[in-house]
Symmetry: C2
Subunit: 242 residues, 2 copies
């Protein structure tokens, strides 16, 4: 795994987190080499250097080192950079500024401006999106995946005590846990997530049988792609597919 | 009030609504003529034609008729159109697609993609934003005005029963109320909004004395503009100022 095109990448992740998996799918599809730093989910000392407390974080070095936060910003920024190499990554990232806003419940949330939008000029746009509508469609489905699809994962993965335990067995095996930590995480984590999932189900207005929501979401996606193309992006996957 | 540059505009509004006022400030500053349709806030029959149930709505006719929703989308789309007349307004609007998302509380909300971003090519960008940082700054402060500044208005305007009554006296005078409707709206509305304001105060985590939040917001703005420029936009107001 060596740098390519001057782009040196390090991904801070939990292997089993959906947002991290999305970033890996994107990087792998584009054949970009990157180093992985698996973060310990309890102590998180690997990301202590960062004021941003979540994963994924991508450290990108394209001349000067740069920290990218938020899975969709990472993907939009790197994709823009790959299309238009004469813009600096630093400049590109500045078009996705963090913007605080206060939610309905008075909670502060951080959002990134334009995060599903590639920062292309007209020539690049015509090359990447010969059919204009696809660009807007891609944006909508990327948002759908971040805002809706992911919310179906936890309730489905911790649906029953047995499934919760199986999931945590996998998470502990794949994740970076200490020995004792792993033992506790498996049983306490499975129990906690089984309970929390019920609350998530309610918060996101899911059906009693959460499998149903998942089936419906998948059907919605398949229907949106339609019969006449292989991927949302046509014959090749676009960012909504990845 | 006659069409100009082929752009025929009709604004559906409540005169006293902050988002409508923002759109008027924008249109007036740019010297764009527009017709106003004052909407009756009880029956709202003037906007029955629209599936979008809120104001402001701008009907724009630049060749073909087009309905623009959301005050910030209206401003971004028309501004982009003024800068780049060779793009059709229809095409520009397609870059601000409505996107459903489900809030923390399971409530469906409608957001518009890229809504604080002008859809400019590189040449236009250089002309409008000779200093790059100003573009991102403008975006942030536009969002701040929509998400934070407006939330300070109601609690401040209905802070005490006397102020609530004075506000509704003004609203009823300027708005499009029936005679009987107006009478009831004034007293019932003032009472209701006095009570609702307390809830809003709590929801948005405001200080007990909401005047204080307003002063702080204004100070924050003044400080961000700084001593060396007249407006956020420099010597001329930009969209954050308007």
């Amino acid at each position: 795994q060596l740098p390519d095109g001057g782009l040196q990448l390090t991904l801070y992740q939990y292997k089993t987190c959906p947002f991290c998996s999305k970033v890996r799918a994107f990087l792998d599809y584009h054949g970009l080499p990157y180093e992985i730093v698996e973060v310990n989910p309890i102590m998180r000392k690997e990301i202590k250097f960062s004021a941003y407390r979540k994963v994924p974080i991508l450290l990108a070095n394209a001349g000067s080192p740069l920290q990218l936060n938020d899975s969709s910003v990472i993907i939009s920024a790197i994709k823009t950079y790959l299309i238009s190499k004469r813009k600096s990554l630093e400049e590109i990232v500045s078009f996705y500024p963090p913007m605080k806003s206060v939610s309905e419940k008075g909670k502060e949330t951080l959002e990134y401006g334009n995060k599903y939008w590639l920062m292309l000029d007209e020539k690049e746009t015509k090359r990447i999106y010969p059919v204009k509508e696809v660009r807007v469609e891609e944006m909508k489905w990327r948002k759908w995946a971040d805002d809706w699809l992911v919310h179906l994962i936890s309730p489905n993965v911790y649906r029953t005590p047995r499934e919760a335990l199986a999931s945590f067995d996998y998470i502990v095996r794949e994740g970076k846990f200490g020995t004792l930590e792993g033992f506790f995480a498996k049983y306490m984590g499975a129990l906690a997530m089984f309970i929390i999932s019920k609350r998530l189900k309610k918060r996101h207005n899911l059906q009693d049988n959460v499998r149903q929501d998942l089936y419906e979401a998948v059907n919605e996606w398949v229907k949106a792609v339609g019969k006449h193309r292989l991927f949302m992006g046509g014959s090749q996957p676009n960012l909504a597919d990845l």
